[in-house]
């Protein structure tokens, strides 16, 4: 089992979710996050207060998958999120030790999808 965390541009979320649906990956957790990459954000000005290297709005996607779904899922996320411009984001893959479906108590690969 693997756990995928991806940080993408907020306005690519719809494309990513559509791409995941094509791969029959429907279970997902999405959150609003702040972040920046190597460009260190943009300047913000509030009267006498100037912020440089600010954080930008991003969206974080989290998906748990069985090993057979890992590559299609990563590819789908990348396909949906890629614009070719700076700021497209990153995908991280972790080993997942356990997964539990709360309602039924099922565990392991059965509980993932």
């Amino acid at each position: 089992m693997k756990y995928i965390i991806a940080v993408i541009q907020p306005d690519r979320l719809d494309e990513v979710m559509a791409a995941l649906e094509e791969e029959e990956v429907n279970l997902i957790t999405v959150s609003d996050v702040m972040g920046r990459g190597r460009q260190k954000g943009v300047a913000e000005v509030y009267r006498s207060h100037v912020e440089r290297g600010g954080l930008l709005r991003k969206v974080k996607i989290e998906v748990a998958v069985n090993d057979s779904f890992l590559q299609p899922t990563v590819d789908a996320i990348a396909r949906g999120a890629r614009t070719g411009h700076i700021g497209d984001g990153k995908i991280f893959v972790f080993d997942l030790e356990e997964c539990v479906r709360i309602r039924t108590g099922e565990t392991g690969c059965v509980a993932i999808g």
């Binding site: 913000e44 000005v45 509030y46 009267r47 006498s48 207060h49 912020e51």
Partner: protein, 411 residues
């Protein structure tokens, strides 16, 4: 026996309500500019003033400000608890509307003025100290100054200084008290690295309500529904408009983007500056006053404050103090008896004396406000303590002073 004019009375009732709306409007303006953890504290301070100042005004504030004169300095207690203040018009102040209505209109000014000072000490003042300071300040600073400028027998009124709607009594007064407060209470922890405004849409909403209410503030100061009130309405709109554009243009020209916060700050600065001039200047004069207010307040807030290093959190001094002083002086240039025969002519209409009286009024009001505010704050600091602890400042005033959280973020 004076006759009540229904048109004047209807307008003044509305104007009173418009000025009342400025205090909650200020709550949104200031509230949007502070960090999320302090938004309720700012709004609570505004609403508490609506309560406390209304009571102070009817019990003693009104009579001290507008009551029978004592040596040009203060009113007496004849009208305490509104004794003798009824439906019958007071011919000295507003001969065509009920006396009670005049008192009510003035009440809304008395509520709003201490609220302006909140901008200087936001995010770090103890609530108990705030209430104590506001009530005492209103009684020893606002009430006497209102008497000097507006009271029958008031010495600044007698001198010939012009202040149509309260540039001195409200804006210079609150602005200098704000400066004193910023200096006495000190900088916020971590200043100047403080998070930016947490809700600019709130600030914009607040500025809109302030602009709307200001029509009551300025046009209502004509105390009647007539040509003068409409003239003041027009100059108010033009002062705000040209100042908003001026601030945005200055930002643009300085190589940065024009910002929403800058544009609304410009509008407020213009409204402040046009306040003393509103019933005395032409529409073109208003455009000039607004443009200068936008430029000068921009410099005060964005350039000078940073260089001097004091923490006037929401620019109460930079906008109300500086804008009020500028407006008082510019009234001395642009005033014309063509617009208001009961006023005077300024420098641009061949009379240099008015500018002198404006300058005297400015200096005296600014000094009185600063000195007494400073002293009062030091005294309250000794007795009650002005500032919350560093720990509480970190957690935020909403939770520590009011046991509340503005936004439920989870669940």
């Amino acid at each position: 026996m004076a006759q009540i004019d229904t048109g004047d009375t209807a307008w003044m009732i509305v104007a009173t309500a418009l000025v009342m709306l400025m205090t909650p409007g200020l709550a949104f303006f200031y509230g949007g500019l502070v960090r999320r953890k302090n938004v309720l504290s700012v709004m609570m301070q505004c609403f508490m003033l609506l309560g406390v100042m209304s009571i102070q005004w009817v019990l003693c504030g009104y009579t001290l400000a507008f009551g029978p004169d004592q040596g040009g300095f203060i009113g007496d207690f004849s009208w305490a608890a509104l004794t003798g203040v009824g439906a019958e018009p007071n011919a000295d102040y507003a001969g065509t509307i009920p006396h009670t209505l005049f008192m009510l209109f003035q009440m809304m000014f008395a509520v709003l003025t201490p609220a302006l000072i909140i901008g200087a000490f936001a995010e770090r003042m103890k609530f108990s100290a705030f209430v104590l300071f506001s009530v005492l300040w209103a009684t020893i600073v606002y009430d006497p100054m209102a008497h000097w400028v507006w009271g029958v027998g008031g010495w600044l009124r007698e001198l010939g200084a012009l202040d149509f709607a309260g540039g001195t009594v409200v804006h210079i007064n609150a602005g200098m008290a704000a400066l004193a407060a910023a200096l006495v209470i000190g900088k916020r922890k971590g200043y100047p690295d403080i998070s930016p405004p947490h809700n600019l849409p709130f600030a914009i909403l607040g500025a809109a309500l302030l602009w709307f209410g200001w029509f009551g503030f300025n046009a209502g100061s004509a105390l009647g529904a007539n040509g003068l009130s409409v003239s003041a309405f027009l100059t108010t709109q033009l002062g705000a408009a040209s100042a908003a554009v001026a601030w945005a243009v200055v930002e643009w020209v300085k190589g940065k983007r024009p910002t929403a916060l800058g544009t609304i700050s410009g509008a407020v600065a213009g409204l402040v500056a046009i306040t003393p001039a509103s019933g005395f200047v032409t529409p073109l004069g208003a455009l000039g006053i607004g443009a200068l207010a936008g430029l000068v307040c921009y410099l005060a807030v964005v350039i000078v404050k940073g260089k001097l290093g004091y923490d006037d959190s929401l620019d109460a001094f930079g906008v109300h103090g500086v804008g009020g002083m500028l407006g008082a002086l510019l009234t001395g240039f642009w005033a014309t008896t063509v617009i208001n025969p009961a006023g005077a002519d300024g420098v641009f209409h061949g009379n240099g004396k008015l500018l002198l009286w404006q300058f005297v009024a400015l200096v005296v009001c600014a000094a009185y406000s600063f000195v007494l505010s400073f002293g009062l704050l030091k005294l309250i600091d000794k007795v009650v303590g002005l500032r919350v602890t560093e720990e509480k400042e970190g957690i935020g005033l909403d939770l520590t002073q009011h046991s509340e959280s503005a936004y439920t973020l989870v669940g």
